[in-house]
Symmetry: C2
Subunit: 307 residues, 2 copies
Amino acid sequence: MPNKYNNKVSELGLIDYLGRILTKNKLSVLKGIGDDAAVVKISKDKYLLNTCDMLIEDRHFKRRDNLYDIGYKAIACSVSDIAAMGGEPSFALVSLGIPQRIKFRDIKLLYKGLRKGTDRFCVNIIGGDTNSCDKLIIDISMIGFADSKNLVLRDQAKIGDYIFVTGSLGGSIYKRHFKFLPRVKESKFLTDRFKLHSMIDISDGLVLDLWRILKASRVGAVIFENLIPMHKDAKNLKEALYMGEDFELLFTVSQKDGKILLENIRQNKISFPLSFIGKIINKRCQMQLIDKNRKTIELKPKGFLHF
Amino acid sequence: MPNKYNNKVSELGLIDYLGRILTKNKLSVLKGIGDDAAVVKISKDKYLLNTCDMLIEDRHFKRRDNLYDIGYKAIACSVSDIAAMGGEPSFALVSLGIPQRIKFRDIKLLYKGLRKGTDRFCVNIIGGDTNSCDKLIIDISMIGFADSKNLVLRDQAKIGDYIFVTGSLGGSIYKRHFKFLPRVKESKFLTDRFKLHSMIDISDGLVLDLWRILKASRVGAVIFENLIPMHKDAKNLKEALYMGEDFELLFTVSQKDGKILLENIRQNKISFPLSFIGKIINKRCQMQLIDKNRKTIELKPKGFLHF
């Protein structure tokens, strides 16, 4: 979508545009552009998931950042995308653009970081491409698989659904964004036991990623300030709402399943942090925050955009 | 592999290094790093192929080049990799790094080029990632499939094999490297009818890509100057031997199949240009060129390296 001021490209507009022109031309593609990963049916009850994430120097990381951390994060981001679909990661391709200034020992460090990620999540690096480039660029393309009973898309949130989020939010970029653990086990635990209606991983902030679910599902949401799990690193509510790189799972379930989940949380039957934060409502793409004084605040879809 | 002078990284050395450290940890990966595409067994007689190709401004194309052409080429390069494994392409992810200076209409042009490639080869773009970057970067990750009877690797060339090449070689970068037709149909024709022992697509020049087959198969080769199909755009033999971007198929078959192929060529039964250029010999990784005066020249593995 052209930006009306200068005809430049915005990320959201571009993704919309791509979704329109690159239409699905094969029956087996269940989901193309517009989710955390593409979904291709490969057998009666098995789906192939495929996602890519490009990390660019000066955009996603600084030259001074540790290459081991960057390598780990590159894998972890893609793993998180696969987990957000209810899948498990399997294979990765690694495309690198490498500046001439980078020494072999630094590349080894980068690969050790990649390896830390692939070992932890049982991912096999099966290929790649290396080129020289002014900036360091790491593009990971990852293949995962999901059973049909576990697969969760973004576009099936229903009015009345309860909204949950794993972990706690905000302040990730001060410290932990290089060390985060993608919620693969949590995704498996949840999708094995509950029929999740929609799910996304929070990469660009709670509000923007919630809005992506709402937009895809054509619904609205109300969330409650006092229910939002703020991370201790978050300086204020705004950081928990809008700051990116949390990589927590945001999902919705039916009211019935939501109540069971809440009961499980109360009884300490869930081994990871999980919070109920609000409900899906019928106001299409609208987001309301009920603050601590019970005042309703309209939220706008903004957050961290990579473009 | 560290360059002994400055500890910087060479492409060949890096790929060797990756192949060593990123060991195969799952039985279903038939081929990891070190072929045109990774090969994963997904059923008794079906293989998934996965490859990625990164095109970088000022490295693989110039800023003044037409974005439509660049888009087409990005897809065609990956299609060629899949064809070189005896497979057919199916799905692609498109990762883009987009400079702020690029206008929306230019991105549309790029996508029209991508679309031309995906339409022609029945590839479905199922996802991607967009980021801003100083240089335009296009990374295509492509999934294809091959029946086990069609699958061809690099590492099974046998002593006595006949070496063939499709099309004609040299001078591609003057004109046709943006317009080339990956040899998908030709690959299917050949692999349906013959048991190819090894195959690669010539992206970095005949000599370097032949050497890759020899290295993987631990054999040598002798080729004949007067048999090498020079393209009319090639200024001299050197360009046919070393210049990259031909994207023709280079393959070996048993002597028996080779003779049948030669007979087919003589009888005009093959609808595309195909040339016998030499034989596989037992001198590991050595390449000999017999020139027009029947003099033997040792060839060194050089060509166009992207790093």
